[in-house]
Symmetry: none
Subunit: 224 residues, 4 copies
DNA sequence: TATGAATGAGCATTCATTCAT
DNA sequence: GATGAATGAATGCTCATTCAT
């Protein structure tokens, strides 16, 4: 719940949208509950489109059609396709961060925390009609400005992961950086082969984490 | 298997010896008898373009310009962009298979074989001006016919990997499928974060494989 | 004539005292009684925009942003972009007429009057951050209704010029019409090559007028 | 005739178009006579459009329609609207230069040369369905790259004018620069008020030049 | 084999304007 | 007076592809 508030705070910063020159937004309390309305619906609609086809192949026309509006009208809400994309992306990252935070909040054992985080990550990634997947995996983002914003959002999530990984006790000689990147790769690569109907994202996550978990880990340091 | 190697042997010869933009047309008579050297040059040129920008963002114009020809002329060699891409991709897979085959041919220990394969894989992927990387990682291939052909080529390589993985002795409870997919994910994900100038592809590969290698593996089950 | 001066007196007061982007809304009560000060501010803001970029390239969005308002809101003040432009243009012509009238009011010799008028004209045209220049020189006004209104405003000023020119004694064989158009052309063409920092508009005007002034003119026909 | 050759030489340099990487253009002699065909027709069609409506208001669609082709097809000939425009513009300048050169080639008296040049200039400017007029007078060219090319072409013509003006004997105290700019202004300003059907461009030019011609000029140096 | 010319569909974006609230 | 949302038409441009020469 508190994380949810944090989320929208973050989003406000990330989006930093249009207000031309405009007056004081002093009565913001009023809108925070169920307003924002149209814009956040657009955000979700766009997310679904980007997820389905990737950034390049999703045209503003597609999004406009799905939103029930003419193409030009989208520019009332976002100044460019890039801006819309990074807003969608930032929202996705927020969501991921919230999911991981909530999933780990009552767990103390570092390995269990990490596993719970990965389960949440993969559920978020593969569920919801894959809304977040293509967005996060999209590698067609190659132009300067957009790439920078994209990397920034991505970094926010990776920072969280780093914290979780650093808390874990690794086998001698294993570098934490490679452990983190390897684990992330193993998990995100599911996007490449996952098919709905097989094992659940949760099961998959647990099995992948298990690959990296030192064998006797929970046993290795038995409490006295 | 040997036929595949033979095929790619031929192809490699053509691929390896190509000047960047346009061969001097002086000794054309010599190679014209063999099997259409011009076509292989086009293949190599196209590979470089696809690698640099991905499938979608590489236009036939780009390829034609790099090949020193007008766009329409490309259609004398390939009937469509898809067809050209598949050819490029198949050549890339051939190359990968050859590299892995050669890297493992004198090694007997299964874990060592797997490690050697991963090293070769990553060297191939990250080296050569990244010629193969974007092609293999490209997820913008989503249309029916193209996707099918693409999956087929990809399958040829994954079959090889499966063989290598199946030979390895895994920790109890670890499913070979997840092991294989997790390892492949960890390794291919490097495309996302690798930066030339840091550790070498070889070092990276070894460290990533180590993550998956049971700790005392060669020792744990000593032959009687 | 005097009514025109009176009108533009009023207008000038409004035009002259305007801060760039948005007046502080603190003392709004004071001027609201007069005659809609807000509208004159808009007029000035729009003038600056038209001056900077010409009619076509100035969008209602540009003007609205500079005025501190959303585009749609402009239509409370003017029914169309054309109408707004005409108003801006009329104000510019008023200003020009006033400047010329004031500059010539105490001069009796016709040639001196004409020279003074040209100096005032050019100062008005090239000074004031070029606020009037592009407006007067803009030849992108080509559509029917707008063009007509535009020609009308322009005519008001040219009538004044005609009066000044007709008072002047020309060389034998010189037609007054060509003299007037040639002089106007020479002077307005400065918009094409004038660069702030070189000679002043006043100097330029005097030198250009000198080109047209019969050599020994004041001397040539000495009063008996 | 020799000037005509010079013209196309110049144009080749100014246009510097598309040839992707391409083969040797060794047999150019063949095309210089009546070839070039399609491209130069396009150039003329575009000139007419630009002349009628100015740069901004002429859309590529307009030009394409007038050329009898779909919009995208224009990009086979020119890479951008800007490039097309500067080609049109350069051709116009070439034409102007040729016209002036031819008009003055057998005249020796400097004032007569200058007058003949102005007549040719104005005929070129106001004749030919005004093909060149709007192009030369267009002040909507404001963006960096395009503006630079535009200024360059314009400069070529102004250099020629300078030569003609410098040869002329001016009244004492008249600076040649102001004389040149004033004359050019007077003449080009005709675009603002010229109406076909009245006096001919030739008559207008002579009368305008007369305004600047020192009164007793032909008398000033009486033949013995 | 290659060129030169064209197609037809699609793209992101901009613009003046309208109108219910 | 002003906003927020939308319209509908236009704009410059790109792309894979075709085909007569």
């Amino acid at each position: 719940m508190s994380s949810s508030v944090a989320r929208s705070e973050r989003r406000k910063k990330a989006l930093a949208t249009v207000p031309v020159d405009k007056a004081d937004p002093s009565n913001e309390g009023a809108e925070s509950l169920a307003e924002g309305g149209r814009k956040s619906i657009l955000l979700e609609v766009a997310a679904r489109q980007f997820a389905k086809k990737g950034f390049d192949k999703t045209s503003m026309r597609d999004i406009a059609a799905a939103f029930g509006v003419l193409p030009g009208s989208l520019y009332h809400h976002f100044n460019s396709k890039d801006e819309l994309f990074i807003a969608v992306y930032a929202a996705g990252v927020d969501r991921m961060i919230d999911a991981v935070a909530k999933a780990t909040e009552n767990i103390v054992d570092p390995w269990d925390r990490l596993e719970a985080a990965c389960v949440a990550h993969l559920q978020e990634l593969l569920g919801h009609e894959n809304v977040l997947a293509a967005v996060l995996a999209d590698n067609s983002i190659s132009d300067g400005e957009l790439r920078k914003a994209w990397a920034h959002e991505r970094g926010r999530y990776e920072d969280l992961l780093r914290t979780l990984v650093d808390a874990v006790e690794l086998n001698a000689g294993v570098e934490s950086r490679y452990f983190r990147l390897g684990l992330l790769g193993a998990i995100n690569w599911t996007l490449t082969w996952y098919q709905a109907g097989g094992e659940s994202p949760e099961q998959i996550a647990r099995k992948l984490v298990a690959l990296f978990r030192p064998l006797g880990n929970p046993v290795q340091f038995p409490p006295l």
